[in-house]
C-alpha cells in the first residue's frame, strides 16, 4: 500500500511541472527536428530537380515537404496541448491558443493541399499511361 503523504510528495506540483516542461521540450524538439530534416531533404531534391527545368518535377518534392511539415506540426500541436497543463498566466495561455490555432489551420490547409496535389498527380499519370491495345 502506498503512503498517501509520500504519494502527494512524489506528485508535487513542482515535480509535475518540471516533468511536463521536460516533455514539452522533448516533443517540441522532435517537431522542429522533423521540420528541419524535411526542409533539408526537400532542398536537396529541389536542387536535383532544378536542371530538368520541368515545373512538374517539383510537385512530388513539395508533396513530400508538405508531409514532413504536417508531421512536425502534429508534434508541435502535441507539445502545445502538453503546455496547457503548466501555462500559468492568461498571457501565456493566450499565446498558446494563438500558436495552436495557427498550427491547426496550417495542418488543415496542408492536408487539403496534399490531397489536391495527389489528385493532380494521379490524373497526370492516368493521361500518361498508353491506351490499352484493342
Amino acid at each position: 500500500m502506498v503512503n498517501p503523504p509520500l504519494l502527494a510528495d512524489f506528485l508535487s506540483e513542482e515535480r509535475l511541472r518540471s516533468v511536463v516542461d521536460l516533455l514539452v521540450r522533448l516533443v517540441e524538439a522532435a517537431g522542429a527536428l522533423v521540420i528541419f530534416v524535411g526542409a533539408l531533404i526537400a532542398i536537396v531534391q529541389f536542387l536535383r530537380a532544378l536542371p530538368k527545368g520541368d515545373a512538374h518535377a517539383f510537385v512530388p518534392v513539395r508533396l513530400s515537404l508538405g508531409r514532413y511539415l504536417a508531421l512536425g506540426l502534429e508534434f508541435q500541436l502535441a507539445s502545445d496541448v502538453l503546455h496547457t497543463a503548466i501555462a500559468p498566466t492568461f498571457e501565456e495561455l493566450g499565446k498558446l491558443a494563438a500558436v495552436a490555432a495557427i498550427r491547426t489551420a496550417l495542418n488543415f490547409f496542408l492536408a487539403r493541399e496534399i490531397r489536391e496535389e495527389q489528385k493532380v498527380i494521379a490524373e497526370r499519370d492516368q493521361l500518361d499511361e498508353p491506351a490499352p491495345a484493342p
Binding site: 522542429a32 528541419f36 536542387l47 517539383f58 515537404l65 499565446k95
Partner: protein, 91 residues
C-alpha cells in the same frame, strides 16, 4: 524551448529562409513557371517560420507566422485561379 535549443534552431530557421529565397528565384529562372517558384518559396518559408515559432513565441513572431499562413494561402489561390483562367482562355 530552452535557450540552448533557441540558439541552435534560430540559425537553422534563418538558413532555411535563405534557401527558400534562393531556390524560389532559381526555380523561376529554370522553369519560368510562377506557381512552381512561388510554391517552393512559400513552402520553405513556412518551414522556416514554423522552426522560428518553436523558438520565439513573442506576439510579433506569432503575428508574422499568422501573416505568412494568410499570404501563402492567398498567393497560391491567386496564382492557381490565374493559371486556370489562362488555361480556360487558351482551350
Amino acid at each position: 524551448m530552452t535557450s540552448t535549443a533557441s540558439t541552435v534552431a534560430a540559425p537553422l530557421a534563418q538558413a532555411v529562409g535563405m534557401a527558400a529565397v534562393v531556390l524560389g528565384v532559381a526555380v523561376f529562372l529554370a522553369t519560368r513557371h510562377v506557381r512552381s517558384a512561388l510554391g517552393v518559396l512559400l513552402d520553405l518559408l513556412l518551414a522556416a517560420g514554423l522552426l522560428r515559432l518553436g523558438t520565439d513565441q513573442s506576439w510579433s513572431a506569432i503575428a508574422s507566422a499568422a501573416a505568412l499562413v494568410v499570404v501563402r494561402k492567398l498567393a497560391m489561390s491567386g496564382v492557381t485561379t490565374a493559371s486556370r483562367s489562362r488555361e480556360g482562355a487558351t482551350t
